[in-house]
Amino acid sequence: MSLFLLRRALLTLPVLFFVSVIVFALINLIPGDPARIMMGEEASPEALAVLREQMGLNRPVYVRYVIWLGRVVRGDLGKSVRDGRSVLETLLLKLPVTVELSLVALLVAWAIAIPAGVLAAWRRRTLWDYTATTVALAGVSIPNFWLGIMLIYLFAVNLRLLPPSGYVEPWIDLARNLKLMVMPAVVLGTALAALVMRLLRSSMIEVLGTDYVRTAQAKGVPDRGVLFRHAMKNAMIPVVTIMGLQLGGLLGGAVITETIFAVPGLGRLAVESILTRDYPMVQGVVLFSAFAVVTVNLAVDVVYAFLDPRIRWEERAA
């Protein structure tokens, strides 16, 4: 077991290595002077000289990479060009907001997707199934920025039921916080719900076709028992194993959602820093989000390995 864990953990190292290479390359392989890109073109010559020295720009690119990586590993992501704050500090400040939004969105998504997916698979090729799959396909296809605008138009501009945008921390005003979360969470959750529903449906169909479910049915286990005790447990496995992918989708979706609804989380930070060319911050956000996805993938695999010992053998065989 521990050998597997070690192996699995070691496998993420090369991935993280390449993640860091890509993030480093984002700024450093683009033509032009990285210091100038970092500071903006209005930087004073003195400040530029200092930064060049700090970045070791007179040294070869791989030396620079090692220096940079050394800083990153120690948690030093640099300072924002825009307001001089530490990048890491800002990221940690924004993280809880995006975590809250993502959790609410995840909750919304699963609450819709799981029953719908089970129903669609269980009542396959019925009106239920067709309705659910069509709605899910629409959910996958609808551009989230359009959905956001339309919701604002309907619920904030026209009906005035919900505040159009903004954010308040839950510990300051929980009711307002939740009210403000409704629309962004729905927008963020829609694509995810559609994804999970489609996934659950197909894995459920697969599971329902397997021998042991047929056996259970043959043994006279009531329908609902088969559905929940046997089929669902197994069908949920793929849904859980792609947590990493879902997280990636949520973080990507947060970029749009937080921008439209003025939610001050990581997504809006990403957009603002990209649009204002705050490159240390861009590097930080991109690195951080990839790191989060890699970590969640690792965590899911580890937890999963504990739950299902067969996995370890499969991995080793592969």
């Binding site: 290595f17 290479v21 359009w146 496995i237 793929p238 792609i242 956000v285």
Partner: protein, 304 residues
């Protein structure tokens, strides 16, 4: 562990993380696929809509009642009427004409960015899967790494670094999509090279190039088509998203995403500006997804 991911990849329609689409019906080729596709009404509907949009894009100058970029300063923000079925925009331009011309931008963005991803991803994946070894190891970790980035975050960052403009947005989206095509073609190459007929060809002295070209590539076409059509849907959304955030198409070229950007300012006064371009994106992406799903189901009927 592996199968679920394959299923997800198919369900999301964008990313394939697995080495195997083992279910792929192996020897029956493109014609069989299309044949089965034709029996799926939803898929056919998707194809029909796509064809209509292609026609709209090609024949835009004929179909559009007005010039999409010439303003009319005396007819600003006119609600939908007989003369302007979708109303006019903030500069008095006909929204219908702009939506029609916008299809050009969207289709172009979808096709070119996926084209880039295929052109780079397919050969890399084939090499990687066919020769294995060091190159394969490195490429796989690299694609793992690229797939760890939230797709839109990476596309945004790349687009910002490359500079504003449709061409740069397409390159950015293409780069971000490349790893999924590397993965797919590698998986196919990997499974094909173990097949008896490849062994046989090798024994008969066929060169690597010939084996890849004659034996492996044809078997990749079908799954590649599925992946490409689903990726096109995602690329169209991505271009619209970048334009919506101001990094894609530049004015006055009509693009559905940038039309939505402007429309935000007039939600209270001219909501029709937000409805039509958004609907256009939605319908196009939906049709593209129907097409992709149809192809996938034709490949693997058990999914239906």
């Amino acid at each position: 562990m592996m199968r679920p991911r394959a299923a997800t990849a198919a369900a999301t329609g964008t990313i394939d993380r697995t080495p195997a689409q083992r279910r792929t019906v192996r020897r029956d080729g493109l014609r069989y696929l299309l044949d089965r596709y034709a029996r799926n009404p939803m898929a056919l509907a998707g194809l029909g809509v796509i064809l209509l949009i292609v026609i709209a894009a090609v024949a835009a100058p004929v179909l559009a009642p007005y010039n999409p970029i010439t303003p009319d300063f005396d007819d600003l923000l006119h609600p939908p009427s007989r003369a302007h079925p979708m109303g006019t925009d903030d500069l008095g331009r006909d929204v219908l004409s702009r939506v029609i011309f916008g299809s050009r931008t969207s289709l172009l963005a979808g096709i070119i960015s996926v084209g880039i991803a295929v052109a780079v991803g397919l050969p890399l994946g084939l090499l990687s899967g066919y020769y294995r070894g060091r190159l394969d190891d490195v490429l796989m970790r690299l694609t793992d790494a690229m797939l760890s980035f939230p797709f839109l975050v990476l596309a945004l960052a790349l687009a910002a670094l490359l500079g504003a403009g449709l061409d740069k947005a397409m390159i950015a989206i293409g780069i971000v999509f490349t790893p999924s095509f590397v993965r797919l073609s590698r998986a196919q190459a990997l499974s094909e090279r173990e097949q008896n007929y490849v062994e046989a060809a090798k024994a008969l002295g066929a060169g690597d190039g010939r084996i890849v070209w004659r034996h492996i590539l044809p078997n990749i076409v079908s799954p590649m088509l599925v992946q490409a059509s689903l990726a096109t849907a995602a690329a169209i959304t991505a271009e619209a998203a970048l334009s919506f955030l101001g990094l894609g198409t530049q004015p006055p070229t009509p693009s559905w995403g940038s039309m939505l950007n402007i429309a935000q300012a007039y939600l209270g006064t001219a909501p029709w500006l937000a409805i039509w371009p958004g609907l256009a994106i939605f319908v196009t992406v939906l049709a593209m997804n129907l097409l992709g799903d149809g192809l996938r189901e034709a490949l693997d009927p058990r999914l239906r």
